[in-house]
Symmetry: D3
């Protein structure tokens, strides 16, 4: 089976890192291909970035002309767009935000999310709520690190910030943690051991859920919300920076 | 005071109709200017259209170089984007979806929304929920008419469809109705009289709320969720159809 | 247009202060008249006062024989009575509690209320919940000051107490603040500047919402909850202290 | 033990009927005394009546000078005032609305309320919600009969209307029914048998809960919400019809 | 009337202590008989114990062959099984968890529960939620003491732990406290005095609610959820430790 | 990897059917072993059966002495016990109720459950709610068929009943369906085609989720709710029918 993983931003290095995480999680028969949007923000932080990203990712898949794929994994924690992609493609679509939460619910009575900047917390809460998995979320906590900070190699600072935020989530009742940024992939084992808690990475979770849906022959319902887009005139951006 | 009203789609006629509605609602000292996105869908129906529209409307305001304005009214019922625009501009931003609901809450214990296609109902419910005004919404009901159907001049068919949907909303407990599409503006008096119920038009409601915020010197908080976008590299679309 | 503003208590000075706030918010064509109940509590703090106040305010409007008015603003933060007044009069009725919350929702993702005594917090929470705007309320926090303390001129103490409570609301997630007492009107600019947050005054908010509804020709629905009171024998109090 | 039962309206016959129901439910050592407000509405239907009734009932207990009592039962289904009475008196206070719901929750997974006019349904829903027992309420259904209709002796019409409304509640999931008006007391056995469902009368339920609290030495908490009213100037009505 | 009180564990001493508490609460005409399960856990702490206990208590009542009884009180705070017992027996069934909450709701706007180990808190929250009385629960707080610790006679340590946990519940808004373990019965007066708050013991509360239902001739509805168990082959355990 | 699937009842044929379904869903490297409780009900319908089943399934795993396994799938739709099993075993535990809902949430905005008898609907709603996936459940609908009816070979009747119930769920907003009984496994393709909707079978869903958790090295958190059971004396049933 072939899964395409869409990065939510235009930073190629991040796509590669996400793909590494996705491949590590993928089963033997699964091929993972990473896609980077041709336009959009270099990192998605806040609503403006998120809506720009959503349109760019939809456009990315709309204009995709590579080999056929069996599922889409959308790698942008808390970012918008999943319902639009569900309308567009005929294969299952799994967003890493909801994916992490679905698995986390199976591992403890309440879970918490540790993310980058405080400004992203509200967006993540909304995303979980609409995905139908907000009830057992005890807290979404920011580390104060930006998405690009995560990539600068200062692993120690990232770990420390994560552990401090994780402690706060724990006091709020979290028994399981979720990595609240695609760029945190890889951190789950280290911090999981230090914390003695299961830590779920959304990219890995989404790959397994996508594989599961494909294996079971399940895909998005066309009844009601996610009907195919009506043919009409649409212009996809102005193409200027 | 000067209010810019952004249409959520690229159809110039619809912008004009919305502006007519907005001007009818505006107070004596208020100037209304309509803006049509340079790109996006010709009408917004469903999530794919909505995310495309959100990015296009943000881009529209980002690249706006007309006279200064005091507030933004976003005219796309149930469409995405309001939080992104709040990050972008320094003046108050009012979305017609939430605006209609805010006023409706003051007029009855429960309100209902009558919209175009069934596929839009879920999106509207989500929009109201996140705006914090979902609790007293008794029902969101579709008429089966598309956005473009509304503009084709068959007013009788529109009215009939609206009245049938309104009756359904009433059975669910709605005591006030909301016009669930910017293209329905103007319908409120006719159907209000036939139904004996207050009918709220979101465009008019948003104009009054925008005027209110401006008059009181209030604008979006920069604490937490709606901080200014961080400067970074962003590309706004590919510019092809 | 003419708006009557009803004080919830019998203290004439407070009515005057409220009217000053209302006039400052009113548009050019709006006349504001303050009404003080002939009976009731000298200040409303707690449920007993609130129910007494509700009956007295309804009686005040029932027996009103001044010039006609276009809307009612009810100035008692968290106090009861608004649904009863909606049944009674044919013009729009806006309560300052809900009004402040409606505008606050447009300015940030979560808002907080700073009020007088702790004992009032629960009543305010209930009032917001039933008005349909409780979802995005992050916290209602008391300052420990009574309604009458607010009027004693010690502005510094009031400001300090407000800022301390505001900080607590901020920690709970509030991005916008609401003045939780009609007697706090005027405080919004000072504390807004110190906090760097929008601060909404309910009296001003209610005046703008009342003006909005009148301008749009909207008034309370008679379908369902707020039907006119059935004619019957009613006795309005015993007239003794 | 001595329980005072306060009627919410000024109709003496209704007080007597309520007292009959209360006495039928009271245990061997319990004395029941009925109190009729000196002012207020002759029947409480809708919010205006309800707030007038709340003030009048509080005044009734405030000026009561009979023998001491051990608990208060407030007999007005869905009517306001209970929190104010809790502030005022030192003994337990039980409102028949919440009382019926508390017992109903013990008898089935979901309960329904059958009441008088449709206009009262919303008020009852609010009352149950704030009392903390709204979650398991499947429906509140009106019979179309006014409070005074109930007393006119046409038992057959009342029964028929009740059974039709009960059927509707059953379709919504109710497994237990609540009589949603103090004036329905006595109906529970007849309709219970016809329906094969438990039917809870609020007056009887409140008497048993009041007896329970007294027997256990429990009374209203003074911490937080229900602190004693602060001494201040209060005027209780104008004394004119 | 005769009430059987079922202990949720096999510890006879605890049954006796519970029966003492129940008898202290029972009215003059009420006989209380304690029943200890023939199998199950020696104390119930956590879900595994709770499900084992639920089956054992159901079996206890299924095989009971003593004198007839009028109601069942299930004494296991937060433990499972009440719905199964409701299916089985024809008399009213009251669980001490819900019973305490029902009475607590009548005594303050929010209540809190103080229980044994932290691990039990979630189970209690779930139990209150499903019973329909979770809304007004401000907090469930653990003392760190196990069920068996409570019985070891170190009353001082228990009191101290309880008071510390109670303070935490108070900060979360609790105005009334609930003893969150059948083994705490007797503690309510001492800590109630020290705290100046009403403290509800679930065993006593359940006895009064059971007496109330019996006195009113009310019992579990057979419509819907709690229909009689269908006759079929069932085997009740393997009988080995 | 080796998954044990526990039937919730003692009917060996049903275990075999479930195992067939589980094997059809399992990936190439997965071995599935079915376990039938040594005691319990022959089919689980209603709360009494469910609690008996919960204890029996926990006992089954407690006394299991076969080859080691990597995950547990609990096959009893809406049945109790999952949290107890999570305390007991060190490997991931997935209940088919929650599993089906988790996957269904990925396929449409709202899902519905079609189950056996009406009496099971409430139990399933509770199970989904506590698992944290109740929000997007539009309806749980009964077919009127018992668990044992499903096995009697009258496939046509089952299909018809399922389709009628599915239509009802659709009217309530369900865009995806869940088979609400382990005994319905196999029905998903036939009815999915007739309905044009995705239909999720809980057994298959749980197998894929269990495989996912094992592959990612994730298992139940020991922090808070699902700590290991404390060693103590426990007796597992009386061993008589």
């Amino acid at each position: 089976m072939r899964i395409v993983v869409t990065n939510c931003n235009t930073t190629q290095e991040m796509t590669e890192e996400i793909v590494r995480g996705a491949r590590a999680a993928a089963g033997p028969g699964t091929t993972v291909a990473g896609l980077t949007p041709a336009w959009g923000p270099e990192s998605a932080e806040g609503w403006l970035d998120s809506y720009l990203s959503a349109a760019a990712v939809i456009d990315l898949l709309r204009t995709y002309d590579g080999p056929p794929y069996d599922a889409v994994v959308m790698a942008g924690f808390g970012e918008h767009g999943r319902e639009g992609v569900r309308e567009l493609v005929d294969v299952p679509v799994v967003d890493i935000t909801e994916a992490a939460a679905h698995l986390a619910c199976l591992l403890g009575r309440r879970y918490g999310v540790v993310t980058t900047l405080e400004r992203s917390c509200g967006q993540i809460e909304d995303s979980l709520e609409l995905a139908g998995v907000g009830r057992n979320c005890a807290a979404v906590v920011g580390t104060g690190l930006s998405v690009l900070d995560l990539g600068d190699g200062d692993r120690e600072r990232t770990e420390e910030a994560f552990l401090a935020a994780a402690e706060q989530a724990g006091r709020a009742g979290a028994e399981v943690l979720v990595l609240g940024c695609a760029g945190m992939t890889g951190l789950e084992r280290v911090v999981g051991e230090k914390l003695g808690l299961p830590v779920v990475d959304g990219v890995a979770a989404a790959v397994k859920l996508a594989e599961s849906l494909v294996a079971l022959g399940l895909t998005t319902s066309r009844a009601g919300s996610y009907a195919k887009p009506v043919p009409k005139r649409r212009v996809w951006g102005r193409g200027t920076a």
